[in-house]
C-alpha cells in the first residue's frame, strides 16, 4: 500500500534540486523528527518516508486507551495521510526497508524500489520482546492464535476482537511492567478475568522499588486482577489455539488468550544487516549521527547514546530537536547530552510517578519514605547533597509536579522535608513557567503541552486568544487559562500583543459590556440578529458571539426579547444537555432535592417506556435521564409532565439542601424550605454563567454551601449566613461571607439583588468565583447590602421583571418553535449510547 505512486522509480523529480532526505520508520520518532525539520526548513528537503505499518503516524502511548475503549483508534493519529500530502512527503506506508547501502547512498525496500538519498534518518523504533516459551508459535512461525504482542494498532485491534469473542473469558498477561498492567486493565473492560504473570520479584521493577511494588500489587489486586510474581512462563498450552499457560514450579493457569508485554527490544536488524555499529542499539554521537556515516542519523528507541537506550517519549523529543537543528543547519552546534528520565503515568487506574534512583546508593544519601498501603499511597525520595536524585510516588500525585521540576532542574529543596511529600497548607511558590518542562501538559482537557503553546507563539500567534484558538488550550474547563496567559507572555518575550478583544463582551462586537448594554437600550435592539446588524463590523454575524448575546438580551428585555432559535446553543434550542454521543440528558425539576412517591413513579415509568439507558443522580440532587435521542425529547417531557430542571444552559441551576432542622439532630434552620422557596422564585433565570446554589441547616455544611455561587448557612439564633463566589469545580474557592441576616425574606432579597448585579456586570462565562474577587467583596456588599450607590431598587425591580417572564421551556415540546426543532442531526447511525452500567 503506497500512498503516492507518481514517483515509481524513487528517483524524485529531476527538476527538483532540493536535498533528498529519506526517513526509515514512520513512528513517533521518525515523524517527530520530520515535524521538527519542517518547522525549521520547510523546503530544504525532498522527503521520502518508509513505514512498516500501513497507516499514518499515531501515538503509540495511547494504545492502552484504545484497548480500554476510552479512545477510538482514529483519535490517536498524530499525522493524517493529508498531512503527508500537504507537506509533500512521499510516504510509503506498509513498505519495509530491507537494506541500506551507505556507500552508494541507496535504500532498498521490499517492493523492489531503490531510493537514493543525500541524508538518511533511521527511526526503526522497537519491537515487542517475545521470551522463548514452548508453544508460543505454530509450525509456520506465526504466533499461536490467542497470543498477542502489544505494540501496534493492529495488535490492539486484534486483542479487542479476541477479547470480545463470547467464548473468551479469561486472559493472562505476561509481564507486570507498565504495559502489562495497562493491558490487564484494558482487557478487564471486556469482562475478562485477568491474571498478570511477572518474572520479577515485584511489579514495575524497572521503575519502582520492592515496597512500592507491593503497594502497587495491592492496588491492582483490589481491581480484581490476580498477580503472580517470580513466575516464569515456560509453555503456552493448546494445540490449535491458546488454552492456558504453564508456569515453572506453579500450577498451570487455564486461559483463552495471552498478551505478551515482557518489554521491548530495539529494532536494529536493518542497521546490523547494513553494517552499522550496533551494540545494545544503533550507536550515535551527540548530533544523533551514526558513527559510521556523517549522512546517516538515527533517532528514538533504536538508538544508543553514551551507552543509554531510552524507551520513553520525552528523550525521543529532545533527540528529534537536536537532529533537526543539526541536519537543517539551524544550529550546527546543537548537541544531545542524554535525558534524565522521569515518568508520570496512570497505570491500571493507579497514579505512578518515578524518577531517578529507586533507593539510596551511598551512606550519605538521605531517604524519606511514607507508606500507607490501605489507601494505596506510597512516597519515597532520595536526596543527595541537597538535590533530589530519585523519587517514587504512588496514589497521591499532588506533589509530583514539584518533584519532577526539582529532579529535572536540581532546584533547591525546602528545609522542611515534609513539604516535599505533602501540601501542608503553606502557600507553595508556583514554579515559574520558564521552569516548566516542555512536555508539561498545561491544558488537561485538550492535552496541550507547554511546547505546543510555545510553537504557536513562534508560529506567529501573538495574542492569547490566537494561541488558544490555534491549540484549543483553555477551551475545555478553562481552569488553565491563567497559566496559558503566563506561558504566552513568556514565550513572546514581552512581544505579546494586547488582545483588542480582551474586554469585549463577545468576540464579534467590539464593545465592552456597559457600552454594549447602552447601545442595545438606546437603539432598542431586541434580537441577536439586530444587534449584529447594528453593532458588528460590516454587520457580520459571528457564531461564537451568539449565545452570549442571546443571554444578555433575555436578561435585559425579559418578555420583550425576540427569541431567535439560531442564536442559541443546541442545549438552549432543545432545552436539554447534549452528551458526547449526540444524545441528550433530561433532568426534571426537583426543588431543593425534595421529591415524592408520585414524581419518582412518574420518572420510573417514563424511563421504562422510553428505554432510558442510564438513570443517574446528579451532583445537584436531581435525577438525570441520560441517552435520550433528540427526536424523543418532546415525548419524554410530555410523559414526565414536570418542569425543566435547567441542567443545561447558562442559568440558575439548582439549590442543593441538607435535611435541616426538620430531621437532623444538629439542624438549626429549615434549609429544605428555604431551598425550595429560592428555587421556586429564581428558576430558569439566565446569567453570564451557570449559577449553583445551596442551603445548609447548620454549620456542618452537608450541602456544601461554602463552595457554591450563592450559599446559605443556618447558624444558631435563627439567623442565616450568605456566602457568594464559592466554587468546587475546576477551581476551588471558599465563598465570601456577604451578610448575616435574620429571616428567609432577607435572604431572598439579598441573593436576588446580588444575582441581578452579577447578571448585569459579569463578563460572558465569568463565574462568580472570578466575578466576586474582581469587583471586590466590599464594593459588592456596599451595593447589595447597604445600598451605598442607590442601585438596590433598580436591581430588585429588574430581577422581578425577569422572574415574571418565566415560562417553562419544556412546554415547547408540544408545539415546536421551529420546523424540525427536535429532528435528529445524526440521521443514519444507530446512536452510540452513553455507557450502560448494569447492577452495581
Amino acid at each position: 500500500m503506497t500512498s503516492t505512486m507518481e514517483n515509481p522509480t524513487g528517483l524524485g523529480d529531476p527538476g527538483d534540486t532540493r536535498r533528498r532526505l529519506v526517513v526509515i520508520g514512520n513512528g513517533m520518532a521518525g515523524a517527530r523528527a520530520v515535524e521538527e525539520i519542517l518547522l525549521r526548513a520547510r523546503d530544504q528537503f525532498q522527503i521520502t518516508m518508509f513505514g512498516d505499518e500501513p497507516y499514518g503516524n499515531y501515538n503509540r502511548i495511547m494504545l492502552s486507551h484504545v484497548l480500554s475503549g476510552e479512545e477510538s483508534d482514529k483519535d490517536i493519529f498524530l499525522n493524517s495521510m493529508e498531512w503527508y500530502e500537504e507537506n509533500r512527503i512521499d510516504l510509503h506506508a506498509g513498505i519495509r526497508v530491507t537494506k541500506i547501502d551507505r556507500h552508494a547512498k541507496l535504500v532498498f525496500s521490499d517492493d523492489g524500489r531503490i531510493t537514493p538519498y543525500d541524508q538518511l534518518i533511521i527511526a526503526t523504533g522497537s519491537n515487542s520482546f517475545m521470551p522463548s516459551m514452548e508453544g508460543l508459535r505454530m509450525d509456520d512461525g506465526s504466533l499461536k492464535p490467542g497470543v498477542f504482542a502489544f505494540r501496534t494498532i493492529d495488535d490492539t485491534r486484534g486483542m479487542v476482537e479476541y477479547a470480545t469473542h463470547e467464548h473468551h473469558t479469561r486472559a493472562v498477561v505476561i509481564g507486570g511492567g507498565l504495559l502489562g498492567l495497562e493491558a490487564a486493565r484494558g482487557l478487564q473492560a471486556y469482562g475478562l478475568t485477568v491474571d498478570v504473570v511477572h518474572a520479577g520479584a515485584h511489579l514495575m521493577n524497572a521503575q519502582v522499588g520492592p515496597q512500592a511494588g507491593e503497594i502497587l500489587r495491592q492496588s491492582v489486586e483490589k481491581l480484581g486482577i490476580f498477580v503472580h510474581t517470580k513466575a516464569r512462563t515456560t509453555a503456552i498450552l493448546g494445540e490449535e489455539k491458546v488454552e492456558g499457560i504453564w508456569l515453572l514450579e506453579k500450577p498451570q493457569i487455564p486461559c483463552d488468550m495471552v498478551v505478551v508485554a515482557a518489554g521491548i527490544r530495539p529494532n536494529v536488524d536493518l542497521a546490523v544487516r547494513s553494517g552499522f555499529t550496533v551494540e545494545r542499539a544503533i550507536v550515535v554521537d551527540d548530533q544523533m549521527r551514526t558513527v559510521d556515516s556523517d549522512d546517516v542519523y538515527a533517532v528514538g528507541e533504536c538508538v544508543q547514546h553514551r551507552g543509554e537506550v531510552y524507551g520513553l517519549v520525552a528523550p525521543l523529543w529532545e533527540q528529534a530537536v537536536v537532529l533537526a537543528d543539526h541536519i537543517t543547519g539551524a544550529d550546527p552546534d546543537a548537541a544531545y547530552h542524554g535525558s534524565r528520565t522521569a515518568t508520570k503515568l496512570k497505570v491500571a487506574g493507579v497514579d505512578v510517578a518515578s524518577m531517578g534512583l529507586q533507593g539510596p546508593e551511598r551512606d550519605t544519601d538521605e531517604v524519606l519514605v511514607f507508606s500507607e498501603p490501605k489507601r494505596g499511597v506510597f512516597k519515597s525520595l532520595v536526596i543527595r547533597d541537597e538535590k533530589l536524585v530519585g523519587a517514587t510516588v504512588l496514589g497521591d500525585t499532588s506533589k509530583v509536579a514539584f518533584l519532577m521540576q526539582a529532579f529535572d532542574r536540581g532546584l533547591p529543596l525546602p528545609e522542611e522535608r515534609l513539604e516535599m511529600l505533602f501540601n501542608l497548607g503553606t502557600p507553595t511558590a508556583e514554579a515559574s513557567v520558564e521552569e516548566l518542562a516542555d512536555d508539561t501538559q498545561v491544558c488537561n482537557c485538550n492535552g496541550v503541552s507547554k511546547a505546543a503553546l510555545v510553537h504557536a507563539v513562534e508560529g506567529g500567534c501573538k495574542t492569547v486568544g490566537a494561541v488558544m484558538d490555534k491549540t484549543r488550550a483553555g477551551k475545555g474547563c478553562g481552569s488553565c487559562k491563567t497559566m496559558v496567559c503566563q506561558i504566552v507572555e513568556w514565550a513572546a518575550g514581552g512581544a505579546v500583543q494586547e488582545d483588542p478583544s480582551a474586554n469585549w463582551y463577545v468576540p464579534g462586537i467590539p464593545m465592552d459590556k456597559p457600552a454594549l448594554m447602552l447601545a442595545i437600550l438606546q437603539q432598542e435592539l431586541k434580537s441577536v440578529s439586530s444587534v449584529f446588524a447594528a453593532l458588528a463590523p460590516d454587520g457580520a454575524e459571528e457564531a461564537k458571539s451568539k449565545m452570549g448575546l442571546a443571554s444578555l438580551l433575555k436578561m435585559m428585555w425579559a418578555d420583550d426579547y425576540i427569541d431567535e432559535k439560531d442564536a442559541k446553543f443546541i442545549n438552549d434550542r432543545v432545552h436539554a444537555n447534549i452528551q458526547k454521543d449526540g444524545t441528550f440528558s433530561v433532568v426534571p425539576q426537583m426543588k431543593g432535592g425534595v421529591t415524592s412517591v408520585e414524581q419518582l413513579r412518574r420518572i420510573a415509568d417514563v424511563a421504562e417506556k422510553h428505554k432510558i439507558p442510564m438513570i443517574k443522580l446528579t451532583g445537584g440532587q436531581r435525577i438525570d435521564l441520560l441517552g435520550v435521542p433528540k427526536e424523543d425529547l418532546p415525548k419524554v417531557w410530555a410523559d414526565l409532565d414536570m418542569p425543566s430542571g435547567y441542567a443545561y444552559g447558562k442559568s440558575f441551576r439548582t439549590v442543593k439542601t441538607c435535611v435541616g432542622q426538620e430531621f437532623c439532630r444538629f439542624g438549626v434552620g429549615d434549609s429544605t424550605k428555604l431551598g425550595i422557596d429560592i428555587e421556586s422564585k429564581f428558576q430558569g433565570i439566565e446569567s453570564p454563567a451557570k449559577m449553583k446554589l445551596a442551603v445548609t441547616g447548620c454549620p456542618r455544611n452537608c450541602a456544601e454551601s461554602l463552595v457554591k455561587d450563592v450559599g446559605m448557612v443556618a447558624i444558631e439564633g435563627g439567623r442565616w449566613e450568605i456566602y457568594i463566589g464559592g466554587a468546587a469545580g475546576a477551581h476551588i474557592r471558599k465563598g465570601d461571607l456577604l451578610a448575616t441576616v435574620d429571616s428567609h425574606d432577607e435572604v431572598m432579597t439579598l441573593i436576588g439583588r446580588f444575582m441581578q448585579y452579577y447578571r448585569e456586570n459579569a463578563k460572558w462565562l465569568e463565574r462568580t468565583y472570578s466575578f466576586v474577587p474582581r469587583i471586590g467583596l466590599e464594593k459588592i456588599r456596599g451595593i447589595v447590602v447597604d445600598d451605598t450607590e442607590g442601585l438596590a431598587a433598580g436591581l430588585d425591580a429588574r430581577m422581578a421583571t425577569s422572574i415574571a417572564a418565566y415560562k417553562d421551556p419544556w412546554k415547547e415540546g408540544a408545539e415546536p418553535a421551529t420546523p424540525g426543532q427536535f429532528r435528529t442531526a445524526l440521521p443514519l447511525e444507530v446512536l452510540p449510547q452513553v455507557p450502560i452500567r448494569v447492577g452495581s
Partner: protein, 108 residues
C-alpha cells in the same frame, strides 16, 4: 471522475429555519444543510471528524459552523477546518423553482 453526478431533491427548503441547519441522508452520506439568514445555502458533512459531533446542531454565522461538542469550526462554503481538524466534505446545494432543496452528489 467516472462516478455520475446526480441531483437529489431533499424536499422543501422551509424545513430548515433561517440561521439553522438540518441533517439529511444523501445516498448513504450524512450531510448537514444550513440556511443562512441571507438565504444562502451550504451543505457540509454532518459528522465532526474530531469526536463525531452533530454538525447540523452547530451554530453558524456567515462563514463558519461551530460543532456543539468541542467547538471545532469549519468553513460553510468549503468544509475546511479552522481548528486543525480534518476537513468536512462539501456539496453544491440550491433551491429550484418549486422551493425544493436540490443537492448535487455522487452516487456511491
Amino acid at each position: 471522475m467516472s462516478t455520475p453526478v446526480v441531483l437529489t431533491n431533499l424536499g422543501p427548503v422551509d424545513q430548515i429555519p433561517f440561521g439553522e441547519g438540518r441533517a439529511f441522508d444523501v445516498h448513504g452520506e450524512q450531510v448537514a444543510v444550513f440556511r443562512l439568514r441571507s438565504g444562502a445555502l451550504h451543505a457540509v458533512g454532518a459528522v465532526c471528524p474530531h469526536r463525531g459531533g452533530p454538525i447540523a446542531d452547530g451554530q453558524i454565522d456567515g462563514s463558519v459552523v461551530v460543532c456543539p461538542l468541542h467547538l471545532n469550526s469549519f468553513e460553510l462554503a468549503t468544509g475546511c477546518s479552522r481548528t486543525g481538524q480534518p476537513d468536512l466534505g462539501s456539496w453544491p446545494v440550491s433551491v429550484d423553482d418549486d422551493g425544493d432543496l436540490i443537492i448535487q452528489a455522487r452516487r456511491a
